[in-house]
Amino acid sequence: MSDALETQDPVTMLSTPIRLDYDFTAGVAQSRSLRGYAEGRFVGQRCPVCKKVYVPSRGSCPVDAVPTKEEVVLPNTATVTTFCVVNVPFAGQSIEIPYITASILLDGADITFMGLIQGIPADEVRMGLRVEAVWVPKEELGPTLASVKYFQPTGEPDREISTFREHL
Protein backbone atom coordinates (compact mmCIF):
# COMPACT_ATOMS: atom_id res chain seq x y z
CA MET A 1 0.00 0.00 0.00
CA SER A 2 1.33 3.42 -0.85
CA ASP A 3 2.11 5.93 1.87
CA ALA A 4 -0.59 8.17 0.47
CA LEU A 5 -3.26 5.51 1.11
CA GLU A 6 -1.90 4.65 4.56
CA THR A 7 -2.56 8.17 5.73
CA GLN A 8 -6.18 8.12 4.49
CA ASP A 9 -9.09 7.22 6.74
CA PRO A 10 -10.95 4.07 5.64
CA VAL A 11 -14.14 4.56 3.62
CA THR A 12 -16.98 3.66 5.95
CA MET A 13 -19.94 4.81 3.91
CA LEU A 14 -20.80 5.54 0.30
CA SER A 15 -23.91 6.87 -1.38
CA THR A 16 -25.11 5.09 -4.54
CA PRO A 17 -28.31 6.77 -5.78
CA ILE A 18 -30.72 4.37 -7.50
CA ARG A 19 -33.69 5.29 -9.62
CA LEU A 20 -35.81 2.90 -11.66
CA ASP A 21 -38.86 3.85 -13.72
CA TYR A 22 -41.67 1.40 -14.44
CA ASP A 23 -44.84 1.09 -16.46
CA PHE A 24 -47.71 -0.40 -14.49
CA THR A 25 -50.08 -2.98 -15.96
CA ALA A 26 -53.38 -2.71 -14.15
CA GLY A 27 -54.72 -5.76 -15.97
CA VAL A 28 -58.03 -6.34 -17.70
CA ALA A 29 -60.16 -6.70 -14.57
CA GLN A 30 -58.66 -3.83 -12.59
CA SER A 31 -58.88 -1.60 -15.65
CA ARG A 32 -62.67 -2.08 -15.56
CA SER A 33 -62.76 -0.94 -11.94
CA LEU A 34 -60.54 2.05 -12.73
CA ARG A 35 -62.78 3.06 -15.65
CA GLY A 36 -65.72 2.67 -13.28
CA TYR A 37 -64.22 5.30 -10.96
CA ALA A 38 -63.97 7.65 -13.93
CA GLU A 39 -67.74 7.17 -14.40
CA GLY A 40 -68.43 7.65 -10.69
CA ARG A 41 -69.35 4.05 -9.89
CA PHE A 42 -67.90 0.97 -8.23
CA VAL A 43 -67.35 -1.97 -10.59
CA GLY A 44 -66.47 -5.42 -9.23
CA GLN A 45 -66.58 -9.02 -10.40
CA ARG A 46 -68.36 -12.14 -9.13
CA CYS A 47 -66.70 -15.57 -8.74
CA PRO A 48 -68.62 -18.18 -10.76
CA VAL A 49 -67.92 -20.82 -8.09
CA CYS A 50 -68.30 -19.25 -4.63
CA LYS A 51 -70.38 -16.28 -5.90
CA LYS A 52 -68.33 -13.82 -3.87
CA VAL A 53 -68.01 -10.30 -5.27
CA TYR A 54 -64.56 -8.71 -5.36
CA VAL A 55 -64.11 -4.96 -5.73
CA PRO A 56 -61.80 -4.08 -7.28
CA SER A 57 -61.30 -7.48 -8.89
CA ARG A 58 -57.91 -8.77 -9.97
CA GLY A 59 -59.54 -11.05 -12.53
CA SER A 60 -59.54 -14.18 -10.43
CA CYS A 61 -61.07 -15.63 -7.29
CA PRO A 62 -58.15 -16.16 -4.89
CA VAL A 63 -60.12 -18.91 -3.13
CA ASP A 64 -61.23 -20.94 -6.14
CA ALA A 65 -58.50 -19.93 -8.62
CA VAL A 66 -60.95 -19.40 -11.48
CA PRO A 67 -61.32 -16.36 -13.73
CA THR A 68 -63.98 -13.86 -12.64
CA LYS A 69 -65.81 -12.67 -15.73
CA GLU A 70 -69.23 -11.50 -14.49
CA GLU A 71 -69.17 -7.75 -13.89
CA VAL A 72 -71.12 -6.34 -10.93
CA VAL A 73 -71.89 -2.66 -10.44
CA LEU A 74 -72.09 -1.90 -6.73
CA PRO A 75 -74.00 0.87 -4.93
CA ASN A 76 -72.54 3.83 -3.08
CA THR A 77 -73.73 2.55 0.30
CA ALA A 78 -71.44 0.62 2.59
CA THR A 79 -70.66 -0.50 6.14
CA VAL A 80 -67.56 0.35 8.19
CA THR A 81 -66.16 -3.00 9.32
CA THR A 82 -63.17 -1.68 11.22
CA PHE A 83 -61.30 1.60 11.43
CA CYS A 84 -58.30 3.52 12.67
CA VAL A 85 -58.07 7.02 14.15
CA VAL A 86 -55.03 8.71 12.65
CA ASN A 87 -53.37 11.09 15.13
CA VAL A 88 -49.87 11.11 13.74
CA PRO A 89 -48.84 13.99 11.49
CA PHE A 90 -46.64 13.11 8.50
CA ALA A 91 -45.12 14.89 5.51
CA GLY A 92 -47.58 15.57 2.71
CA GLN A 93 -50.64 15.12 4.91
CA SER A 94 -53.62 16.78 3.24
CA ILE A 95 -56.29 16.25 5.92
CA GLU A 96 -56.41 17.66 9.44
CA ILE A 97 -55.78 15.15 12.21
CA PRO A 98 -57.43 13.36 13.86
CA TYR A 99 -59.13 11.65 10.92
CA ILE A 100 -60.52 8.18 10.25
CA THR A 101 -59.33 5.55 7.82
CA ALA A 102 -61.77 2.65 7.63
CA SER A 103 -62.28 -0.71 5.99
CA ILE A 104 -65.27 -0.16 3.73
CA LEU A 105 -67.59 -3.02 2.78
CA LEU A 106 -69.80 -1.92 -0.10
CA ASP A 107 -73.32 -3.38 -0.02
CA GLY A 108 -73.20 -6.56 -2.09
CA ALA A 109 -69.40 -6.86 -1.95
CA ASP A 110 -67.43 -9.57 -0.17
CA ILE A 111 -64.16 -7.74 0.25
CA THR A 112 -63.29 -4.45 1.92
CA PHE A 113 -61.05 -1.60 0.78
CA MET A 114 -59.61 1.39 2.60
CA GLY A 115 -61.58 4.62 2.65
CA LEU A 116 -61.60 7.97 4.40
CA ILE A 117 -64.50 8.81 6.76
CA GLN A 118 -65.68 12.39 7.08
CA GLY A 119 -68.80 14.14 8.40
CA ILE A 120 -68.65 12.60 11.87
CA PRO A 121 -66.47 13.35 14.92
CA ALA A 122 -63.58 10.89 15.20
CA ASP A 123 -64.72 9.60 18.60
CA GLU A 124 -68.16 8.67 17.23
CA VAL A 125 -67.02 6.35 14.44
CA ARG A 126 -67.83 2.70 15.18
CA MET A 127 -67.86 -0.77 13.66
CA GLY A 128 -71.09 -1.29 11.75
CA LEU A 129 -71.52 2.42 10.91
CA ARG A 130 -73.49 2.91 7.70
CA VAL A 131 -71.82 5.22 5.18
CA GLU A 132 -72.08 6.35 1.56
CA ALA A 133 -69.48 7.44 -0.97
CA VAL A 134 -69.10 11.11 -1.81
CA TRP A 135 -67.53 11.48 -5.25
CA VAL A 136 -65.50 14.42 -6.48
CA PRO A 137 -67.33 16.76 -8.92
CA LYS A 138 -68.03 15.10 -12.28
CA GLU A 139 -65.38 17.11 -14.14
CA GLU A 140 -62.73 15.88 -11.68
CA LEU A 141 -63.58 12.16 -11.96
CA GLY A 142 -60.72 9.98 -13.17
CA PRO A 143 -59.58 6.33 -13.31
CA THR A 144 -58.47 6.37 -9.68
CA LEU A 145 -59.92 5.63 -6.26
CA ALA A 146 -59.12 9.30 -5.51
CA SER A 147 -62.37 9.97 -7.40
CA VAL A 148 -64.05 9.05 -4.11
CA LYS A 149 -63.54 12.06 -1.84
CA TYR A 150 -64.62 10.22 1.28
CA PHE A 151 -67.43 8.25 2.87
CA GLN A 152 -69.97 9.97 5.14
CA PRO A 153 -72.62 8.58 7.50
CA THR A 154 -76.07 7.88 6.02
CA GLY A 155 -77.89 8.03 9.36
CA GLU A 156 -79.22 4.47 8.98
CA PRO A 157 -79.09 2.16 12.03
CA ASP A 158 -75.74 0.37 12.52
CA ARG A 159 -75.28 -3.14 11.16
CA GLU A 160 -74.80 -6.00 13.64
CA ILE A 161 -71.23 -7.34 13.68
CA SER A 162 -72.62 -10.80 12.85
CA THR A 163 -73.60 -9.44 9.40
CA PHE A 164 -69.99 -8.62 8.46
CA ARG A 165 -67.94 -10.81 10.80
CA GLU A 166 -66.67 -12.80 7.81
CA HIS A 167 -65.22 -9.66 6.26
CA LEU A 168 -63.10 -8.50 9.21
Binding site: T16, Y22, D23, F24, T25, S60, C61, A65, V66
Partner: protein, 362 residues
Protein backbone atom coordinates in the same frame (compact mmCIF):
# COMPACT_ATOMS: atom_id res chain seq x y z
CA UNK B 1 -45.57 -52.15 -15.05
CA UNK B 2 -42.81 -49.55 -15.00
CA UNK B 3 -41.06 -48.60 -11.82
CA UNK B 4 -39.58 -45.24 -10.98
CA UNK B 5 -35.79 -45.07 -11.46
CA UNK B 6 -33.83 -44.55 -8.25
CA UNK B 7 -32.54 -40.97 -8.06
CA UNK B 8 -28.86 -40.20 -7.61
CA UNK B 9 -29.69 -37.61 -4.96
CA UNK B 10 -32.31 -38.05 -2.28
CA UNK B 11 -34.28 -41.18 -1.60
CA UNK B 12 -37.57 -40.52 -3.32
CA UNK B 13 -38.09 -40.50 -7.09
CA UNK B 14 -39.78 -37.31 -8.29
CA UNK B 15 -41.09 -36.75 -11.82
CA UNK B 16 -42.29 -33.86 -13.96
CA UNK B 17 -45.76 -34.89 -15.17
CA UNK B 18 -47.10 -31.76 -16.83
CA UNK B 19 -45.81 -28.46 -18.14
CA UNK B 20 -47.45 -25.38 -19.64
CA UNK B 21 -46.24 -21.98 -20.71
CA UNK B 22 -47.71 -18.74 -22.00
CA UNK B 23 -46.72 -17.89 -25.58
CA UNK B 24 -43.82 -15.50 -25.01
CA UNK B 25 -44.24 -11.96 -26.30
CA UNK B 26 -42.17 -8.80 -26.37
CA UNK B 27 -44.84 -6.91 -24.47
CA UNK B 28 -48.03 -8.23 -22.90
CA UNK B 29 -49.86 -4.98 -22.33
CA UNK B 30 -53.32 -5.98 -21.19
CA UNK B 31 -52.86 -8.83 -18.72
CA UNK B 32 -51.32 -8.26 -15.32
CA UNK B 33 -49.27 -11.05 -13.72
CA UNK B 34 -52.31 -12.83 -12.30
CA UNK B 35 -54.12 -12.74 -15.63
CA UNK B 36 -50.95 -13.92 -17.37
CA UNK B 37 -50.62 -16.89 -15.00
CA UNK B 38 -54.23 -18.06 -14.79
CA UNK B 39 -54.49 -19.77 -18.21
CA UNK B 40 -51.06 -21.36 -17.73
CA UNK B 41 -51.94 -22.82 -14.35
CA UNK B 42 -55.35 -23.96 -15.64
CA UNK B 43 -53.61 -25.77 -18.49
CA UNK B 44 -51.03 -27.46 -16.29
CA UNK B 45 -53.84 -28.80 -14.07
CA UNK B 46 -55.90 -29.89 -17.09
CA UNK B 47 -52.97 -31.81 -18.60
CA UNK B 48 -52.50 -33.70 -15.33
CA UNK B 49 -56.27 -34.13 -14.81
CA UNK B 50 -55.80 -32.48 -11.43
CA UNK B 51 -57.31 -29.58 -9.54
CA UNK B 52 -55.76 -27.23 -7.00
CA UNK B 53 -57.01 -29.58 -4.28
CA UNK B 54 -54.60 -32.30 -5.47
CA UNK B 55 -51.58 -30.08 -4.82
CA UNK B 56 -49.74 -30.35 -1.49
CA UNK B 57 -47.09 -27.69 -2.04
CA UNK B 58 -46.85 -24.54 -4.16
CA UNK B 59 -43.59 -22.81 -5.02
CA UNK B 60 -42.94 -19.89 -7.36
CA UNK B 61 -40.02 -17.97 -8.77
CA UNK B 62 -40.25 -14.26 -9.57
CA UNK B 63 -38.73 -10.94 -8.63
CA UNK B 64 -40.24 -7.68 -7.42
CA UNK B 65 -37.52 -5.78 -9.32
CA UNK B 66 -39.24 -6.60 -12.62
CA UNK B 67 -42.68 -5.34 -11.60
CA UNK B 68 -41.38 -2.51 -9.43
CA UNK B 69 -43.71 -3.36 -6.55
CA UNK B 70 -43.35 -5.19 -3.25
CA UNK B 71 -44.62 -8.72 -2.59
CA UNK B 72 -45.71 -9.31 -6.17
CA UNK B 73 -45.39 -13.04 -5.55
CA UNK B 74 -48.13 -12.78 -2.91
CA UNK B 75 -50.58 -11.08 -5.28
CA UNK B 76 -49.70 -13.72 -7.89
CA UNK B 77 -51.18 -16.32 -5.52
CA UNK B 78 -54.60 -15.02 -6.60
CA UNK B 79 -54.04 -17.17 -9.68
CA UNK B 80 -53.34 -20.30 -7.63
CA UNK B 81 -56.12 -20.56 -5.07
CA UNK B 82 -54.55 -21.19 -1.69
CA UNK B 83 -57.65 -21.90 0.34
CA UNK B 84 -57.84 -23.99 2.45
CA UNK B 85 -54.30 -22.91 3.46
CA UNK B 86 -51.48 -24.77 1.73
CA UNK B 87 -47.77 -25.04 2.23
CA UNK B 88 -46.37 -22.37 -0.04
CA UNK B 89 -42.99 -20.88 -0.76
CA UNK B 90 -41.27 -18.51 -3.15
CA UNK B 91 -37.75 -17.98 -4.44
CA UNK B 92 -36.44 -14.62 -5.64
CA UNK B 93 -34.83 -16.57 -8.49
CA UNK B 94 -35.77 -18.24 -11.73
CA UNK B 95 -38.58 -20.73 -11.13
CA UNK B 96 -36.14 -23.58 -11.88
CA UNK B 97 -35.02 -22.99 -8.29
CA UNK B 98 -38.64 -23.20 -7.18
CA UNK B 99 -38.58 -26.65 -8.83
CA UNK B 100 -35.43 -27.42 -6.84
CA UNK B 101 -37.06 -26.36 -3.56
CA UNK B 102 -40.13 -28.42 -4.43
CA UNK B 103 -37.93 -31.44 -5.20
CA UNK B 104 -36.35 -31.06 -1.73
CA UNK B 105 -39.78 -30.74 -0.10
CA UNK B 106 -41.00 -33.88 -1.85
CA UNK B 107 -37.98 -35.78 -0.50
CA UNK B 108 -39.40 -35.28 3.01
CA UNK B 109 -42.02 -37.89 2.26
CA UNK B 110 -45.19 -36.28 3.61
CA UNK B 111 -46.03 -34.38 0.42
CA UNK B 112 -46.65 -35.98 -2.98
CA UNK B 113 -47.63 -33.27 -5.46
CA UNK B 114 -46.11 -29.84 -6.06
CA UNK B 115 -47.12 -26.96 -8.33
CA UNK B 116 -44.17 -24.90 -9.56
CA UNK B 117 -44.52 -21.68 -11.54
CA UNK B 118 -42.60 -18.62 -12.59
CA UNK B 119 -43.46 -15.36 -14.29
CA UNK B 120 -41.72 -12.25 -15.46
CA UNK B 121 -42.44 -9.21 -17.58
CA UNK B 122 -39.29 -7.55 -18.86
CA UNK B 123 -41.40 -4.88 -20.57
CA UNK B 124 -42.32 -2.92 -17.45
CA UNK B 125 -38.95 -1.33 -16.74
CA UNK B 126 -35.45 -0.83 -18.11
CA UNK B 127 -34.06 -4.36 -17.84
CA UNK B 128 -30.46 -3.27 -18.32
CA UNK B 129 -30.67 -1.03 -15.26
CA UNK B 130 -32.71 -3.52 -13.23
CA UNK B 131 -30.22 -6.35 -13.79
CA UNK B 132 -27.31 -4.08 -12.81
CA UNK B 133 -28.76 -4.16 -9.30
CA UNK B 134 -27.93 -7.85 -8.87
CA UNK B 135 -24.24 -6.90 -8.92
CA UNK B 136 -21.97 -6.04 -5.99
CA UNK B 137 -23.61 -2.88 -4.59
CA UNK B 138 -20.37 -1.08 -3.64
CA UNK B 139 -18.00 -1.30 -6.55
CA UNK B 140 -20.03 -2.63 -9.49
CA UNK B 141 -23.73 -1.66 -9.40
CA UNK B 142 -23.02 2.11 -9.09
CA UNK B 143 -21.39 1.86 -12.55
CA UNK B 144 -24.68 0.45 -13.98
CA UNK B 145 -23.00 -2.06 -16.32
CA UNK B 146 -25.61 -3.54 -18.66
CA UNK B 147 -25.90 -7.29 -19.06
CA UNK B 148 -25.06 -7.21 -22.78
CA UNK B 149 -21.71 -5.54 -22.10
CA UNK B 150 -20.93 -8.02 -19.32
CA UNK B 151 -21.81 -10.92 -21.63
CA UNK B 152 -19.54 -9.36 -24.26
CA UNK B 153 -16.61 -9.50 -21.82
CA UNK B 154 -17.31 -13.20 -21.38
CA UNK B 155 -17.60 -13.81 -25.13
CA UNK B 156 -14.34 -11.96 -25.74
CA UNK B 157 -12.63 -14.08 -23.07
CA UNK B 158 -13.72 -17.19 -24.99
CA UNK B 159 -12.39 -15.79 -28.27
CA UNK B 160 -9.09 -14.80 -26.65
CA UNK B 161 -8.73 -18.34 -25.30
CA UNK B 162 -9.44 -19.86 -28.72
CA UNK B 163 -12.58 -21.57 -27.43
CA UNK B 164 -14.98 -20.12 -30.00
CA UNK B 165 -15.29 -17.64 -32.86
CA UNK B 166 -17.89 -15.09 -33.89
CA UNK B 167 -18.93 -17.56 -36.62
CA UNK B 168 -19.60 -20.13 -33.87
CA UNK B 169 -21.82 -17.63 -32.05
CA UNK B 170 -23.74 -16.95 -35.25
CA UNK B 171 -24.06 -20.71 -35.80
CA UNK B 172 -25.77 -21.13 -32.42
CA UNK B 173 -28.16 -18.24 -33.12
CA UNK B 174 -28.95 -19.44 -36.66
CA UNK B 175 -29.77 -22.97 -35.48
CA UNK B 176 -31.73 -21.81 -32.41
CA UNK B 177 -34.01 -19.43 -34.28
CA UNK B 178 -34.55 -21.98 -37.06
CA UNK B 179 -35.55 -24.62 -34.49
CA UNK B 180 -37.85 -22.06 -32.88
CA UNK B 181 -39.97 -22.04 -36.06
CA UNK B 182 -41.47 -25.28 -34.73
CA UNK B 183 -42.10 -23.83 -31.27
CA UNK B 184 -45.45 -21.98 -31.01
CA UNK B 185 -44.31 -20.36 -27.75
CA UNK B 186 -41.18 -18.81 -29.25
CA UNK B 187 -40.86 -15.10 -29.82
CA UNK B 188 -37.97 -14.88 -32.32
CA UNK B 189 -38.07 -17.54 -35.03
CA UNK B 190 -36.48 -17.18 -38.46
CA UNK B 191 -34.33 -18.93 -41.03
CA UNK B 192 -31.13 -16.90 -41.47
CA UNK B 193 -27.73 -18.36 -42.30
CA UNK B 194 -24.45 -17.56 -40.57
CA UNK B 195 -23.18 -15.32 -43.37
CA UNK B 196 -26.31 -13.16 -43.15
CA UNK B 197 -26.11 -12.89 -39.37
CA UNK B 198 -22.46 -11.87 -39.46
CA UNK B 199 -23.40 -8.79 -41.52
CA UNK B 200 -25.19 -7.31 -38.49
CA UNK B 201 -23.59 -4.45 -36.57
CA UNK B 202 -22.11 -5.08 -33.15
CA UNK B 203 -24.22 -4.20 -30.12
CA UNK B 204 -21.27 -4.73 -27.78
CA UNK B 205 -18.26 -6.23 -29.52
CA UNK B 206 -17.95 -9.19 -30.12
CA UNK B 207 -21.75 -9.57 -29.72
CA UNK B 208 -24.10 -8.74 -32.57
CA UNK B 209 -27.87 -8.54 -32.24
CA UNK B 210 -28.29 -12.26 -33.05
CA UNK B 211 -26.08 -13.20 -30.07
CA UNK B 212 -28.43 -11.45 -27.64
CA UNK B 213 -31.71 -12.79 -26.22
CA UNK B 214 -35.02 -11.03 -26.88
CA UNK B 215 -36.75 -9.04 -24.15
CA UNK B 216 -39.72 -11.17 -23.20
CA UNK B 217 -42.88 -11.29 -21.12
CA UNK B 218 -43.96 -14.77 -20.13
CA UNK B 219 -44.90 -17.39 -17.57
CA UNK B 220 -44.64 -21.14 -17.10
CA UNK B 221 -45.97 -23.77 -14.71
CA UNK B 222 -45.24 -27.39 -13.93
CA UNK B 223 -46.50 -30.21 -11.73
CA UNK B 224 -44.14 -32.57 -9.90
CA UNK B 225 -45.29 -35.90 -8.47
CA UNK B 226 -43.32 -38.15 -6.12
CA UNK B 227 -43.28 -41.93 -6.44
CA UNK B 228 -45.21 -44.34 -8.64
CA UNK B 229 -48.27 -42.10 -8.48
CA UNK B 230 -46.65 -40.23 -11.40
CA UNK B 231 -47.55 -43.19 -13.67
CA UNK B 232 -51.22 -42.53 -12.91
CA UNK B 233 -50.87 -39.05 -14.39
CA UNK B 234 -48.85 -39.64 -17.54
CA UNK B 235 -47.49 -42.64 -19.47
CA UNK B 236 -43.89 -41.47 -19.53
CA UNK B 237 -43.13 -39.23 -16.54
CA UNK B 238 -39.85 -37.33 -16.78
CA UNK B 239 -38.03 -38.61 -13.70
CA UNK B 240 -35.48 -36.30 -12.09
CA UNK B 241 -32.71 -38.82 -11.52
CA UNK B 242 -30.01 -36.30 -10.65
CA UNK B 243 -30.03 -32.63 -9.66
CA UNK B 244 -27.39 -30.25 -8.32
CA UNK B 245 -26.81 -26.52 -7.92
CA UNK B 246 -23.44 -24.74 -7.66
CA UNK B 247 -22.51 -21.08 -7.28
CA UNK B 248 -19.46 -19.10 -8.33
CA UNK B 249 -18.03 -15.96 -6.78
CA UNK B 250 -20.08 -12.81 -7.08
CA UNK B 251 -17.07 -10.70 -8.12
CA UNK B 252 -16.15 -11.11 -11.79
CA UNK B 253 -12.51 -10.31 -11.08
CA UNK B 254 -11.92 -13.61 -9.33
CA UNK B 255 -13.71 -15.73 -11.96
CA UNK B 256 -12.41 -17.25 -15.18
CA UNK B 257 -15.27 -16.02 -17.38
CA UNK B 258 -14.42 -18.36 -20.27
CA UNK B 259 -15.25 -21.47 -18.24
CA UNK B 260 -18.01 -22.55 -15.88
CA UNK B 261 -16.60 -24.77 -13.11
CA UNK B 262 -19.91 -24.52 -11.22
CA UNK B 263 -21.73 -26.10 -14.19
CA UNK B 264 -19.11 -28.82 -14.52
CA UNK B 265 -19.38 -29.64 -10.81
CA UNK B 266 -23.19 -29.63 -10.87
CA UNK B 267 -23.20 -31.83 -14.00
CA UNK B 268 -20.86 -34.30 -12.31
CA UNK B 269 -23.00 -34.43 -9.17
CA UNK B 270 -26.19 -34.86 -11.24
CA UNK B 271 -24.60 -37.71 -13.19
CA UNK B 272 -24.81 -36.15 -16.66
CA UNK B 273 -21.86 -38.20 -17.93
CA UNK B 274 -23.19 -41.52 -16.68
CA UNK B 275 -25.17 -42.22 -19.85
CA UNK B 276 -26.02 -40.93 -23.32
CA UNK B 277 -27.82 -37.58 -23.42
CA UNK B 278 -30.42 -37.41 -26.20
CA UNK B 279 -31.49 -33.82 -25.63
CA UNK B 280 -30.19 -30.91 -23.57
CA UNK B 281 -32.14 -27.74 -22.88
CA UNK B 282 -29.54 -25.19 -21.85
CA UNK B 283 -30.40 -21.86 -20.25
CA UNK B 284 -27.91 -19.83 -22.26
CA UNK B 285 -29.41 -16.38 -22.88
CA UNK B 286 -26.41 -15.35 -25.02
CA UNK B 287 -25.24 -17.40 -28.00
CA UNK B 288 -21.67 -17.85 -26.74
CA UNK B 289 -22.98 -19.21 -23.43
CA UNK B 290 -24.46 -22.27 -25.15
CA UNK B 291 -20.99 -23.21 -26.41
CA UNK B 292 -19.48 -22.55 -22.99
CA UNK B 293 -22.15 -24.53 -21.13
CA UNK B 294 -22.31 -27.49 -23.52
CA UNK B 295 -18.58 -27.89 -22.94
CA UNK B 296 -18.89 -27.46 -19.17
CA UNK B 297 -21.72 -30.02 -19.08
CA UNK B 298 -19.49 -32.50 -20.93
CA UNK B 299 -22.03 -33.04 -23.73
CA UNK B 300 -20.98 -34.75 -26.96
CA UNK B 301 -22.00 -33.78 -30.49
CA UNK B 302 -24.59 -36.59 -30.35
CA UNK B 303 -26.77 -34.50 -28.02
CA UNK B 304 -29.44 -32.28 -29.59
CA UNK B 305 -29.12 -28.81 -28.08
CA UNK B 306 -32.12 -26.57 -27.37
CA UNK B 307 -34.56 -28.02 -29.92
CA UNK B 308 -37.12 -25.51 -28.59
CA UNK B 309 -34.93 -22.65 -29.80
CA UNK B 310 -33.78 -21.94 -26.26
CA UNK B 311 -33.49 -18.53 -24.61
CA UNK B 312 -32.35 -16.93 -27.89
CA UNK B 313 -35.90 -17.53 -29.13
CA UNK B 314 -37.78 -16.61 -25.94
CA UNK B 315 -36.32 -15.33 -22.71
CA UNK B 316 -38.95 -14.52 -20.07
CA UNK B 317 -36.98 -13.74 -16.94
CA UNK B 318 -37.77 -15.88 -13.88
CA UNK B 319 -39.53 -18.47 -16.10
CA UNK B 320 -36.81 -19.12 -18.69
CA UNK B 321 -34.94 -21.68 -16.58
CA UNK B 322 -38.11 -23.54 -15.68
CA UNK B 323 -39.01 -23.59 -19.37
CA UNK B 324 -35.73 -25.44 -20.03
CA UNK B 325 -36.83 -28.11 -17.53
CA UNK B 326 -40.29 -28.17 -19.10
CA UNK B 327 -39.04 -28.48 -22.68
CA UNK B 328 -36.61 -31.26 -21.69
CA UNK B 329 -39.40 -33.04 -19.79
CA UNK B 330 -41.70 -32.74 -22.80
CA UNK B 331 -39.11 -34.58 -24.93
CA UNK B 332 -39.18 -37.44 -22.38
CA UNK B 333 -42.98 -37.40 -22.07
CA UNK B 334 -43.55 -37.35 -25.86
CA UNK B 335 -41.12 -40.24 -26.34
CA UNK B 336 -38.53 -38.43 -28.49
CA UNK B 337 -35.89 -38.74 -25.75
CA UNK B 338 -35.08 -41.27 -23.05
CA UNK B 339 -32.46 -39.26 -21.20
CA UNK B 340 -32.28 -35.48 -21.17
CA UNK B 341 -30.36 -32.73 -19.42
CA UNK B 342 -32.00 -29.55 -18.14
CA UNK B 343 -29.92 -26.55 -17.12
CA UNK B 344 -30.87 -23.22 -15.54
CA UNK B 345 -28.75 -20.22 -14.71
CA UNK B 346 -29.18 -17.24 -12.42
CA UNK B 347 -27.15 -14.19 -11.52
CA UNK B 348 -24.74 -12.22 -13.70
CA UNK B 349 -23.01 -14.05 -16.59
CA UNK B 350 -23.69 -17.61 -15.44
CA UNK B 351 -22.87 -17.08 -11.76
CA UNK B 352 -25.24 -19.83 -10.57
CA UNK B 353 -25.98 -23.06 -12.37
CA UNK B 354 -28.56 -25.78 -11.73
CA UNK B 355 -28.26 -29.05 -13.63
CA UNK B 356 -30.64 -31.99 -13.72
CA UNK B 357 -30.85 -35.31 -15.53
CA UNK B 358 -34.35 -36.34 -16.63
CA UNK B 359 -35.05 -39.94 -17.58
CA UNK B 360 -37.89 -42.15 -18.71
CA UNK B 361 -38.50 -45.29 -16.67
CA UNK B 362 -36.98 -48.38 -18.27
Amino acid sequence: MSTAPQPKQGTRPVAIVSFAQAPTQRRIEQANEVELLMPVISEVYAQANMTKDDVDFVCSGSTDYLIGGPFSFVTALDAVGVWPPKRESHVEMDAAWALYESWVQLQEGDLDVALVYGFGKSSLGDLQRILALQLDPYTMAPLWPDQVSLAALQAQAMIDRGLATEEDFAGVASRSRRDAMNNPNAQVANDLDVATLLKEEYIASPLRRHCVPPLSDGAAAMILVAGDRAFDVVDRPAWITGIDHRIEAHAFGVRDLATSPSTTKAAHMAGVGEGDVDVAEIHAPFAHQEILLASALGLSSATTLNPSGGPLAANPLMAGGLIRFGEAANRIMDGTASRAVAHATSGPILQQNLVAVLEAAS
